[in-house]
Amino acid sequence: MSDFEIFETYQRLLKNEELSTPLAAILALTEMIEQSRAGTMFELVKELKDGAEELNLKSPNPISLNAGCELFIEFITLFPHPSANFSELKTELIRQGQQYVVEALTYRKKIAELAFDFIKDDSVILTHSYSRVVMQTLLMAHRRKRISVFVTEARPRGLGIKTAEKLRAVGIPCSVVLDSAVAYAIDKVDFVLVGSEAVVESGGLINAVGSNQIAIIAKAANKPFYALAESYKFHRLFPLSQYDLPSHNPKLLSFTQPRPPGMSLKTQSNNASEVNPHQINQEQIAQNNPDVDYTRPDLISLVFSDVGSLTPEGVSQYLVGMFAG
């Protein structure tokens, strides 16, 4: 085992604003191949799998990262290699990985163009949280059409505010909506446009928490719900409920044990600061809540990806093509 630190490499790569987590993971894995002293394919794949596992364990939200790692490792195991020379093969694999990342960086533009045709003049769009591909689509639409955008605040991370600020900076009329006010706003909206953490085999969507409820509200109001996803976010996973997501753990949404009232008073009495022991702060709430949720495919109108506009069912075709022989 080499002393290559994959997680540090990964974090260094992520500092590049343009790189999304699956691409950073793929690049980190190619660097791992460079450093690797493995002499056979079997050893190399084992090393990469260990590296992917390490990334998975150390990242707070590994879902889309896993999608990238699985794609790359599956590609490597299936790569047809006529050359008998293993080190040549390794350079070829590194080249492939790097070339893919360069190519994949153009996907957002491709997706934006696909989605653009669905945006009519004077549209009111609802989006959720912050997504680079959604931003690119909105910016492109703004150049050629009139659009206005509602952005949800997207607690707990509050990334919706980042979206709103960026949109406002380029002059797109924009309004931040409370996560709890989506149902209030939905009648003013023409369609919903969200990015994604991953698109799974059922065609369902994993995205920043709150996407699911927006999709449910959009369905109830009969508004289209479009998801944008680069094809490296297609993830071989088949969750049947929220609790099947790899990000779920028993600590999420746990009930706090009520303390007997007398006891808490005694322990707190010495404390100089007069804080209410029952007070709840935002941080506690965030810790007790999920980062991502799962949206069922029947709530999604279309998935725009670099391989085309797909019905949710269409996603599985690609996953089966890659992962089922």
Partner: protein, 411 residues
């Protein structure tokens, strides 16, 4: 180039069809597809080209000309404001989508023939494989089986400076054959759709249909050979059909109310038939076992354009959970996603069939709109029966991918 007599002859036949399309002298999506194919056959047989790109360009420009020639719907006043923004490339107010589809299909076949023809002659390019390809085409093993070397192949030389026509001469026969295949497919499309009719209609069922669709008509008649069942036909006012086509599209007979024609035809074939007014569709729906509709064009999302009234029938069917089945030939598959022209494909018929001049006092005071088609969302449809098998709306996009090349979606 334009002085070339062959080119001029090509231009003439293209313009001829274009003007007939514009005057609506070619009506019906199959008819339009057939006529387009005839023109393309002429064009290919006369075209001069020394590589495949030139040929594709020629066909594309013909396709563009034919698609642009078609009547664009014009609506009155209140519809205008919606119609206004339809200048994007996606907005096709064309009435016959099958024209573009046929061009796309021919292009697809040309490329296919070209690839099989060149495979043996040029050394197969080193199998390039990349992650992007892996994502879009799946695992590598499958695609490698395609590479077969045929030693007996005539060498195909592109851009031969000594003999620029040699490429065309070798390729033309296979291309004509390919076009003939498309032609044969169109000729037999009704039979192929009706092949499994008896599996879709059971004895003693009550079927509701709408207007006059040749496809549905032959489907129902085919089922009647095996089953005893009842058809309810909505008269579909004020739709019209052209009842005779024998005279090369020039002498046409308008018959108002396609549903009446349909009922006449079905009952003369011995099917027990009821003719009902459109307004009673909802009321009758509780007795209906299945709704069978024809389509004008099937869109990539699994929705369709169909005779006005189809949306009414499909919505009523949804309320009673009655299955809705659509019969249509593959040439109606259109690589468009319905966007925001949900008010009837922007194609409007003659208002006089709604309100004639005999009601002169009124004609001044109201705008009359008579859209040909309804857009029916995929959620309201259960299955498409095509000559390429039966499909749910959600897999139409896939059928499209197999039928046309992505680069031709916009001609």
């Amino acid at each position: 180039m334009a002085s070339d007599p062959q080119m001029l002859a090509n231009q003439r036949i293209v313009e001829d069809l274009a003007s007939r399309l514009r005057r609506r002298q070619v009506v019906g999506s199959r008819q339009a597809a057939l006529e387009t194919l005839l023109v393309l056959r002429q064009v290919v047989s006369r075209a001069r080209f020394s590589n495949v790109d030139q040929l594709v360009d020629v066909i594309r420009s013909v396709g563009r000309r034919l698609v642009d020639a078609q009547p664009k719907g014009r609506a009155h006043s209140f519809l205008y404001e919606y119609a206004d923004f339809n200048h994007g490339s996606f907005i096709t107010g064309t009435s016959e989508h099958s024209v573009g589809n046929t061009v796309r299909k021919v292009l697809h076949h040309i490329r296919e023939e070209y690839h099989t023809a060149t495979e043996g002659s040029t050394p197969a390019p080193a199998p390039t494989f990349s992650i992007a390809k892996f994502v879009s085409q799946g695992q590598p093993r499958k695609q490698q089986t395609v590479q077969k070397n045929d030693a007996a192949k005539v060498p195909l030389k592109e851009n031969d400076p000594d003999d620029p026509d040699s490429f065309a001469r070798t390729l033309k026969p296979v291309l004509m054959e390919a076009i003939q295949d498309v032609f044969d497919e169109l000729e037999t499309v009704y039979d192929n759709i009706s092949k499994n009719a008896k599996d879709h209609i059971h004895s003693d069922e009550i079927i509701l249909t709408l207007g006059k669709s040749k496809t549905v008509e032959s489907f129902l008649k085919a089922a009647a050979h095996h089953r005893n069942y009842t058809v309810i036909v909505a008269e579909t006012a004020p739709s019209f059909v052209f009842s005779s086509f024998h005279d090369h599209g020039l002498t046409r007979h308008f018959t108002r109310y396609g549903g009446r024609e349909m009922a006449k035809s079905l009952s003369s074939a011995g099917i027990s038939t009821f003719l009902v007014p459109d307004s009673s569709i909802y009321a009758l729906m509780s007795r209906v076992n299945k709704v069978i509709l024809g389509a004008h064009a099937i869109l990539a999302n699994g929705g369709m354009f169909a005779t006005s009234g189809a949306l009414l029938a499909a919505t009523a069917a949804r309320a009673y959970s009655t299955p809705v089945v659509v019969c249509a030939g593959q040439f109606k598959l259109t690589p468009l996603w319905n966007l925001y022209h949900e008010y009837g494909a922007l194609d409007f018929g003659d208002p006089s069939s709604v309100l004639g001049f005999e009601e002169g006092d009124l004609v001044d005071k109201v705008d009359v709109v008579n859209p040909y088609y309804d857009y029916v969302q995929p959620e309201l449809l259960d299955a498409f029966i095509t000559n390429y098998g039966d499909h749910p709306p959600s897999s139409i996009y896939r059928l499209l991918k197999e039928t046309y090349d992505d680069e031709d979606n916009e001609l």
